[in-house]
Symmetry: C2
Subunit: 255 residues, 2 copies
């Protein structure tokens, strides 16, 4: 089982869009996938058509009350794709556990219960480097870093890579960067091209060969609660996320 955290403290760079669509494409290719929504906003949960008011246990119960993660797992409408939903109460989780030893390892320990059930676990993180994202980084084998092709997104990169290095030193020595994924690329603007070149300079050998273009179909799909391969299977967005899924599968070789 490979655990990938999709993280970047910069907001709106495509974390949720990547988590939802990469997961759906991996599932389409026959991989068994569990997606975990630890963002209190719950966009991954609604992006996959799940109404969090109808869900029993959520990630909050797993992290705070030690509920067995299997109780919080729900099937989505798509084969091979299960979800552990978000909860609005996650926003208060950091303060609730502030003096608890080992609070960063709650998710990592919970995932042991599903080690043989899935090929991939994909974790969608909130736009911060706090307790929830640290839990994901402690549980993950690798981090997939969506980077919007914009200037401000570039600025946050050194802060994120510094956090990954300090996580590697303290709570997860095996954590590696899966790759930097360039998103919302618009070939008509110089800015997009400059950002791509800058990221390749900053993270040599770590930039995904797949680049996700700006594609309005990707931003329409969530309002129908569907991943792109269900909403518009022939769109550029669907093709590119299938290519990314292929890249993720190749990287793990025989695992």
């Amino acid at each position: 089982m490979k655990v990938i955290a999709v993280a970047n403290q910069k907001g709106g760079v495509g974390k949720t869009t990547t988590a939802v669509n990469a997961s759906a494409c991996l599932a389409e290719k026959g991989k068994r996938v569990l997606i975990i929504d630890i963002d209190p906003q719950g966009n991954t949960t609604s992006g996959l058509g799940i109404d969090r008011k109808t869900v029993g246990f959520t990630v909050y119960d797993v992290l705070i009350n030690g509920t067995d993660i299997k109780k919080a797992v729900v099937h989505t409408a798509w084969d091979n794709l299960d979800i552990c939903s978000s909860s609005i109460h996650l926003a208060g989780a950091e303060i609730e556990l502030v003096s608890v030893q080992g609070r960063e390892f709650r998710l990592k320990n919970a995932l042991k219960a599903v080690r043989d059930d899935y090929d991939f676990v994909i974790i969608d993180c909130p736009p911060s480097l706090g307790f929830l994202t640290l839990n994901a980084l402690a549980a993950a084998n690798t981090v997939l870093i969506p980077i919007q092709c914009e200037y401000y997104a570039l600025e946050g990169l050194s802060q994120l890579t510094a956090t990954i290095r300090s996580v590697r030193k303290s709570i997860n020595p095996d954590l590696d960067i899966e790759g930097a994924l360039l998103t919302m690329f618009d070939a008509r603007t110089n800015l997009s091209i400059e950002v791509v070149e800058e990221v390749k300079r900053a993270l040599p050998h770590k930039v995904c060969s797949t680049i996700i273009p700006r594609n309005v179909r990707l931003s329409e799909a969530p309002s129908f609660g569907e991943p792109i391969i269900a909403y518009d299977t022939n769109s550029r967005g669907a093709m590119c996320y299938r290519a990314l899924a292929e890249e993720l599968i190749e990287r793990i070789g025989g695992v």
Copy 2:
């Protein structure tokens, strides 16, 4: 002096772009403006050409060490526009003050020292509803809510308005909504039009008449450390943020 918090827990909706450019346009119209960057990412600070490594005291010192805010204020390159810069250490501020009584009022109390020096104080918030944003909401007269014309941005609106209501009940009874500002509007997509109509339904009488279009010049300006009126004064982005500044001035009447 009017204090406006620019807040929305959804990431990437245009909080920083709005804070920087509305402030610069208010300053251009002769208003004395102090912009406060309480986001640990520090995008407002760099977006106005300030290198936070060269700054002495920051918002962190004001909130955590009780430093006089006047010591943390720096002039920008533009007349009438001062800044209180961000610090990377803000990310840990919430945990540092977790058991301190009245921690939400640190910024509000600090601003008393500059009450007669500015016409507007604009606060750029991080993409969360935690301690830093609560400090801004406690200090603010009103909240300006940038809303990207996308589906996920719409989802977070009820969470934000619920937070504003609970802040009004507990820490700031006078807090009002300045307005919802629609950003990155693209008239070619149905999604944009649907979001505008939905926001008008959700917040009747509270939607700014100015709508900010998607304009690549707005996303290029930060890489030069300039607001849009310096980078490209005749762009659609500059015109629209000037219209917004006009709207903000009209709303306060004679203040």
